[in-house]
């Protein structure tokens, strides 16, 4: 399934918040259809990195090229880029004033200017895919966390994105709901979409990741295929982190 076209190419990226350096000299390449899982301790810059991918934040040095478009503040390609890159947030960020169906159709209708009928058809397809077609007319507040997160995934898919970014999509969920979402993500992984996922769910990582990335203090410390990463990580820090995560 992994092809050889480069989808995301990050090279020598630095990112500052005022004086604080959140990313230092980060380089990373993701191929089309590749599934990358990023982990690392809190504050290590995981969120910052993937937020730079679709221009929610902008890097200060280096280059990021996504699907051939360079990510840069104020650049013309940015809105087109964002239509190619879906993002699923820890806090879901559904639009509470719209029904589930409207949440899914507003992007295609307003941004891609497709007709309502078509947008709704598309929306129902993806709701099917995340296993909640029956919730279409409810409001987000009426859904459980797990269901909300699945809607968020469907919302991104509705834009027919070729890349999906996940920022700890399960960490705001109750233990029982985590699995619902992970199952959907595993399914998604098998469709050949390019995925970059920040998560501490190591079971999931083992199952789907092509590449594991470990970050610490704004740097990528280790990049390895999962077999190697879990059994024999190179850095000490990574070992320690894994032992703590897998411990309890």
């Amino acid at each position: 399934m992994v092809q050889n076209d480069t989808m995301i190419s990050v090279s020598k990226v630095d990112k500052f918040y005022d004086d604080f350096q959140a990313l230092t000299d980060v380089s990373l390449t993701v191929k089309q259809g590749e599934r990358v899982v990023i982990c690392g301790p809190s504050g290590s810059g995981k969120s910052t990195l993937i937020r730079c991918f679709n221009g929610l934040e902008f890097h200060n040095a280096g280059t990021i090229v996504i699907d051939g478009i360079e990510v840069e503040e104020g650049s013309k390609g940015l809105r087109r880029l964002r239509q190619e890159v879906g993002m699923v947030f820890q806090q879901f960020n559904l639009f509470p004033h719209l029904t589930i169906l409207e949440n899914l159709t507003i992007g295609p209708m307003k941004v891609q200017k497709i007709s309502r009928a078509e947008a709704e058809k598309r929306a129902r397809t993806y709701l099917e895919r995340v296993h909640i077609p029956e919730q279409a007319d409810k409001y987000p507040a009426q859904l459980s966390g797990g269901q909300q997160q699945r809607v968020a995934i469907a919302r991104s898919l509705c834009m027919q994105t070729r890349i999906m970014l996940f920022d700890e999509p399960t960490s705001a969920l109750d233990p029982e709901m985590i699995n619902e979402v992970l199952d959907v993500m595993v399914e998604l992984a098998s469709t050949g979409i390019t995925m970059v996922c920040v998560t501490h769910e190591m079971g999931f990582a083992r199952k789907v990741a092509d590449t594991m990335v470990f970050m610490e203090a704004g740097r990528i410390v280790e990049t390895a295929p999962p077999e190697k990463f879990f059994t024999n990580p190179e850095s000490e820090r990574c070992k320690m982190f894994l032992s703590q995560i897998l411990d309890h």
Partner: protein, 272 residues
């Protein structure tokens, strides 16, 4: 459910909190206040002339039914307030967006406008509009009043807008941008509709405030409710009857408004 024997203190508190007791107690206190006000007025030796009041609401003459001066004034007050509120909202939204726009001069202008208006008594602002800008732009007294009220309240409303927009979680912006919406689309479809919820209660307060501050235009003789009241007083010297009546008319209007909006709000809340 097995009822447990409540102890004395709890029983007493429950008794005091029961609705009939509370209402009775409440009526008692209010009654006492009214009675003491009444006896106070009595001891002042003021001759009440309430019987002269109805003619100011309506008259039935040979020409048929006619609205009285107070009702005419009330209509004027409402007309003035509605017009001013409309312009205040438009201007307020503009100022709020300028303030949040990140434009260098835009922000500076918004802040300067806000500080100037906020720190100026409305009376002074009215003089400015009527006596200074009035002759320059050929404004009549009604237009000047509307503009003065609109500008004054635009400043306050812009703050409500700003707070409402800021109250929408940052995640919503990110959600909107990450499905490729432009800034304008994010405002239009995602942020503004949600901020309505936060803005509705303070906006109601602001309408009430505007209706009240419209009373100020009596100093430039626009014939609204307060002006009518003051003119009637200067004609008849029934100061207290007229002031009480005017107060009651304002109360009826503003309370009706508050209650109406809170109904609306509840309906709105159920919906989402």
């Amino acid at each position: 459910m097995a009822a447990r024997a409540p102890n004395g203190a709890k029983k007493f508190r429950a008794f005091m909190n029961s609705v009939p007791v509370s209402v009775a107690l409440y009526l008692l206190v209010i009654g006492m206040i009214i009675w003491s006000a009444y006896s106070g007025a009595q001891s002042m030796g003021y001759n009440w002339q309430w019987y002269r009041m109805p003619q100011y609401f309506y008259t039935l003459t040979d020409d048929g039914f006619q609205w009285g001066e107070i009702m005419i004034g009330l209509v004027k007050t409402i007309q003035l307030s509605v017009t001013a509120f409309f312009f205040a909202t438009v201007l307020g939204l503009l100022v709020a967006l300028l303030r949040l726009s990140g434009l260098v001069i835009g922000t500076a202008v918004a802040v300067a406008f806000l500080e100037f208006v906020r720190n100026m008594p409305i009376l002074v602002l009215l003089y400015l509009f009527y006596y200074v800008l009035g002759p320059v732009f050929k404004l009549d007294r009604y237009t000047a009043s509307v503009m003065c009220l609109a500008v004054f309240h635009a400043a306050l409303i812009s703050e409500i807008f700003r707070a409402g927009i800021n109250a929408v979680p940052k995640g919503q912006w990110e959600g909107a941008t990450s499905i490729g919406m432009s800034k304008g689309q994010a405002y239009r479809y995602i942020v503004l509709p949600q901020s309505v919820k936060f803005m509705l209660p303070p906006m109601t307060g602001e309408v009430v405030h505007l209706i009240k501050s419209s009373a100020i235009v009596s100093v430039i003789a626009v014939a609204e409710l307060t002006t009518i009241g003051r003119n009637l007083i200067s004609d008849t010297y029934m100061s207290f009857e007229i002031w009480f009546t005017i107060a009651a008319v304002y109360m009826v209007v503003t309370l009706a408004l508050s209650i109406g909006v809170s109904r609306l709000e509840k309906k709105y809340a159920v919906q989402t």
